[in-house]
């Protein structure tokens, strides 16, 4: 059991290294202040808010269909997760039962997105730890998933598969597309196993990532860390096990023990075969029938809440409906809750590892820039 990390509050801070908001080491604009003593990070502070665009405010008063399409623009990496959860929110409020085939297609798209998100994590992580060859290999692997998503949705990033009542007609999976997905999964499985084999047998990389950026399970629970970050500390918590969308599928929840960068990276690598398993089951048992049910009626609803598991953790959407328009929208993205873990992971490590410790929590500061209220408990 690893011990808790606590920031040391001192009167005089020896050295402050601040990065940002636009900095060569960070892809996205955010500000991090590292308080350093003898090159060891004693405290870290991450500030977001640079990318704030006010999606919730733009959503206010838009028709629900239009607002759903807008939520996709919250994040370019997990775009389907946002539109899916937003549509689920409306469907929950309006009491719409979607056709089973539509649900399967949504699950396939979401799992493909998980594959490309995890590959992006591996690529970004490898680049930050200074191994560009692994980064290129992960990017190459990711292309398989991106091409499949382009085939299904027609676009590489914003594919907009879900609409209220089902999925868009252009996302219908015919025999040829199913065959292509099945072939793609074979390629992907082979690629990720090769990658995992090569990565875990590299002594230099392993010595670089072992034992740094440790977060203990107790602290992860305290900070409400979600997603793979929490599972890498040994706690098997995955919303997919309780979501009714995933009840037909059989998969395992992967956990790792240490909570350091190594467990985080291996966690993503091991989650990829589980996603491939889900996609294979979905292709095999894809039900026949329509993919969209348009016989629904709009009525006013109070605040509706919906939680789903996305590649980075738990995503929360809520809004009310009034005259077919969205009122009082709230979005909470997984990186929002993981910021605490990013700050704590840096503490006690060398300053050269600080960026790696932040990246291990899979930050997406674009999604994170929401208007928030911090409540002290």
């Amino acid at each position: 059991m690893t011990e808790d990390k606590r920031p040391i509050k001192q009167e005089i801070i020896e050295t402050e290294v601040s990065m940002g908001t636009v900095h060569p080491a960070a892809l996205e604009p955010y500000r991090v202040r590292l308080f350093v003593e003898d090159e060891i990070v004693k405290d870290a502070e991450i500030t977001v808010g640079v990318n704030h665009r006010g999606i919730e405010r733009i959503m206010e008063g838009l028709p629900v269909e239009k607002a759903n399409a807008l939520t996709e623009k919250v994040c370019g990496i997990c775009s389907n997760a946002h539109i899916w959860n937003s549509v689920l929110t409306a469907e929950k409020g309006l009491g719409i039962e979607i056709p089973q085939r539509a649900n399967y297609i949504r699950v396939i798209v979401e799992e493909l997105e998980r594959l490309h998100s995890h590959c992006l994590y591996l690529a970004h992580g490898s680049e930050v730890l200074g191994h560009e060859t692994f980064s290129m290999r992960a990017f190459y692997l990711r292309e398989t998933a991106m091409e499949l998503l382009r085939m299904i949705g027609g676009n590489r990033v914003q594919y907009g598969a879900s609409i209220i009542g089902g999925v868009r007609p252009r996302c219908e999976l015919n025999e040829m597309r199913l065959q292509k997905i099945a072939d793609g999964m074979d390629t992907f499985e082979k690629g990720i196993l090769d990658f995992a084999d090569r990565f875990s047998s590299d002594p230099i990389v392993m010595s670089r990532i072992e034992g740094i950026g440790v977060i203990s399970q107790k602290q992860a629970k305290e900070l409400e860390v979600t997603g793979p970050c929490l599972r890498s500390t040994g706690l098997a918590q995955d919303l997919r096990t309780v979501m009714k969308e995933y009840e037909d599928f059989d998969f395992e929840v992967i956990t790792q023990d240490d909570g350091d960068v190594k467990s985080n990276i291996l966690m993503r690598v091991l989650e990829v075969p589980e996603s491939i398993k889900i996609i294979r089951q979905a292709i095999k048992n894809l039900p026949k029938g329509p993919i969209i049910d348009r016989s629904w009626e709009m009525f006013d609803c109070d605040t509706i809440k919906s939680y789903i598991e996305v590649p980075r953790g738990t995503l929360y959407h809520s809004y009310g409906i009034e005259d077919g328009r969205v009122r009082g929208s709230i979005i909470r993205t997984p990186s929002m809750t993981n910021i605490g873990a990013m700050q704590l992971a840096c503490i006690g490590d060398h300053i050269t590892d600080a960026q790696l410790c932040i990246v291990q929590c899979d930050p997406c500061f674009t999604c994170t820039d929401r208007a928030i209220e911090v409540i002290k408990i």
């Binding site: 060569p24 640079v50 704030h52 665009r53 370019g76 990496i77 680049e127 674009t366």
Partner: protein
């Protein structure tokens, strides 16, 4: 082709500035350079995050309020000759964030990139396709190579 443009053509450095979009375009741009499928590094085009060594500035995203000043500073820090490529519909016209007729329009967006710095090439798309982006950068290159 004189000696200067000959040598410039052999090491084109792209700098990616991200001004508050949805991350989609940025990943595609990084994908262009690092992914073995597109791999512009084989044509001696490199990605950098240092304005002092950059030749082409790639801007993505609608410029948010806090990103306006850094963008101007980065533009000024790039040595002449320089070219600016705006990538993605947010950078061209503010995208969905500017105004899509909700009750309250967003006040965070300082407008398309054109309002803040001069733009040489525009690449449309939401998100940009890597092929389009590569052709956009190639279209901006003559300005760089024909300069004195």
């Amino acid at each position: 082709m004189n000696l200067k443009s000959f040598s410039r053509a052999r090491a084109v450095h792209l700098m990616l500035v991200y001004t508050g979009g949805c991350n989609g375009c940025d990943i595609e741009i990084v994908n262009c350079v690092l992914s073995p499928k597109f791999d512009v590094e084989q044509y001696k085009v490199f990605l950098t995050w240092n304005p002092r060594e950059a030749d082409v500035l790639l801007v993505s995203g609608p410029v948010t309020r806090f990103n306006e000043e850094p963008l101007k500073k980065i533009y000024e820090a790039i040595p002449e000759p320089k070219a600016v490529v705006a990538a993605g519909s947010c950078a061209l016209m503010g995208g969905v964030y500017k105004n899509i007729h909700g009750d309250i329009p967003s006040e965070e967006i300082m407008g398309p990139v054109e309002n803040i710095i001069p733009v040489d090439a525009k690449v449309p798309g939401c998100a940009v396709r890597p092929e389009d982006l590569i052709s956009g950068v190639v279209a901006a290159l003559p300005k760089l190579l024909e300069a004195d």
